[in-house]
């Protein structure tokens, strides 16, 4: 399980955000994206998630180019952007259930997974509350709980700790730790310190790796 990114360049609105970006991430490794506002962190994550075509360069998973089989590639990853994707009309539980079913679990399995995820993220009390009544941090927890339902090798996270309180950040650190121990990869953009010990750091827009 290795992700190889080679000579990536991103152009948005006719302006080049970064170019010649290369790195390699092996099983259990984590990469922290840093950089000022507008330096292209979210854009890089969206390229890695397959939403955005890079201007130049390529991405490969275990040596196979992502473009060759986009479906297989996108099944390998979980993505969380600036938005929480929590439906205001559905209860916390039903929100998660929908994702569990979509990811291919049958009803009983989905129920069990959702139960565990809700307990883990600390929303058991709010399980029947419609999404619109959740506080900003509760919504964020729910969005993160989605990652617990099905394993995926590569996690792409855009400022995941926004709106989370200290307890939730700690919980999230544990989740990341477990994911990496089981061989998962993490790429995470953040302006604030995140519980990601031993992560390599990529500074945008220069693309300096450290």
């Amino acid at each position: 399980m290795t992700l190889t990114v080679e000579k990536l360049a991103c152009i948005r609105g006719e302006r080049q955000l970064f170019c010649n970006l290369s790195f390699r991430l092996a099983a259990g490794e984590a990469l922290l994206l840093r950089g000022p506002n507008g330096s292209g962190k979210s854009s890089l994550l969206r390229i890695l998630a397959g939403f955005l075509k890079p201007a130049r360069g390529g991405i490969a998973w275990d040596g196979a180019a992502a473009d060759d089989d986009t479906e297989a590639y996108s099944e390998r990853l979980h993505y969380l952007g600036h938005q929480d994707a929590v439906k205001p009309q559905l209860s916390a539980e039903d929100n998660l259930l929908f994702w569990a079913r979509l990811l291919g679990h049958d009803v009983a399995e989905a129920q069990a997974k959702v139960e565990d995820a809700l307990t883990s993220c600390g929303l058991t009390r709010q399980r029947r509350l419609p999404g619109r009544y959740l506080s900003a941090g509760q919504k964020r927890r729910l969005a993160l709980a989605r990652f617990l339902i099905t394993p995926a090798s590569l996690w792409l996270l855009d400022e995941p700790t926004n709106a989370l309180d200290a307890a939730a950040v700690e919980w999230f650190g544990g989740v990341l730790q477990k994911h990496r121990e089981s061989g998962g990869l993490v790429i995470l953009a953040s302006h604030v310190p995140v519980p990601l010990p031993g992560a390599r750091v990529l500074d945008l827009p220069e693309g300096k790796l450290s």
Binding site: Q89, R125, P130, R132, Y133
Partner: protein
């Protein structure tokens, strides 16, 4: 007024009234309709179909009366922030919609032998159809919110705005020429019809009022209890979390 604002006291009042309302409803409807069916004479023009009137006309009155009641209690709910008034309005809507439906269908059944058609798009009939839609829109708006206090006030505003339609229904017959006959009971000059027809009609109407109060007392009780159960559930969740 303030005595009624207290839900517990209102519940007790409703419980006290309920048996009397039920008695009025049953006696009024049985006597009125029985009289209308068995004793009162046929109409020299309309024949036996005139007996449909004993259902049609009281339901038409109730349909309009209940909408007015909803509008009034909505105003009370908005001005005095009166929680029970809101629930009275909510509980009335299905009753009003039911009477409107009865009026429409019986009118339609009456129209076929009298006018030779089930339905015409004249002012009176159409405005009654619109009243039916107003009821359904009002009910739909209540259902559309998760938060009952929000739903209540939004629906109250709608009910007040919709009250504009009532005079249009009432006076539609005078404003546009229509197949439907103009009012002969509820007029400024007083009733203009034969007492043998008038009496059973009035008794049925009183029975229908009793029925309304009876159902209202059941539904308001359900609404208040549901609301209180919700409060209990939510505050229990809060206590557990804090503790």
């Amino acid at each position: 007024m303030h005595a009624l604002a207290n839900p517990a006291r209102f519940l007790r009042l409703m419980a006290a009234i309920r048996p009397y309302a039920a008695a009025v409803a049953i006696i009024g409807l049985v006597v009125g309709l029985g009289w209308g069916l068995l004793i009162s004479p046929r109409d020299y023009q309309q024949g036996e179909t005139v007996r449909i009137m004993y259902i049609h006309v009281p339901s038409a009155w109730m349909a309009m009366f209940i909408y007015a009641a909803i509008a009034v209690s909505s105003a009370v709910a908005l001005i005095w922030r009166h929680p029970v008034a809101e629930l009275v309005a909510k509980a009335s809507a299905p009753v009003g919609a039911a009477f409107t439906l009865i009026c429409l269908v019986t009118g339609s059944l009456w129209g076929k032998p009298m006018w030779g058609t089930w339905w015409v798009w004249d002012a009176r009939l159409t405005s009654m159809l619109i009243l039916f839609f107003l009821y359904l829109g009002y009910i739909a708006l209540w259902e559309a919110f998760d938060d009952p206090s929000r739903a209540g006030r939004a629906a109250a505003i709608l009910a007040l705005v919709g009250a504009v339609n009532l005079p249009i229904i009432k006076f539609s017959v005078d404003w546009w020429n229509t197949l439907h006959q103009p009012a002969s009971v509820l007029t400024l000059e007083g009733p203009k019809i034969h007492p043998d027809i008038l009496w059973p009609l009035l008794i049925t109407a009183v029975g229908a009022q009793g029925y309304y109060v009876w159902i209202l007392s059941l539904r308001v009780r359900a609404e208040i209890l549901n609301r209180q159960a919700r409060i209990l559930r939510f505050s229990a969740a809060a206590d557990r979390r804090a503790g």
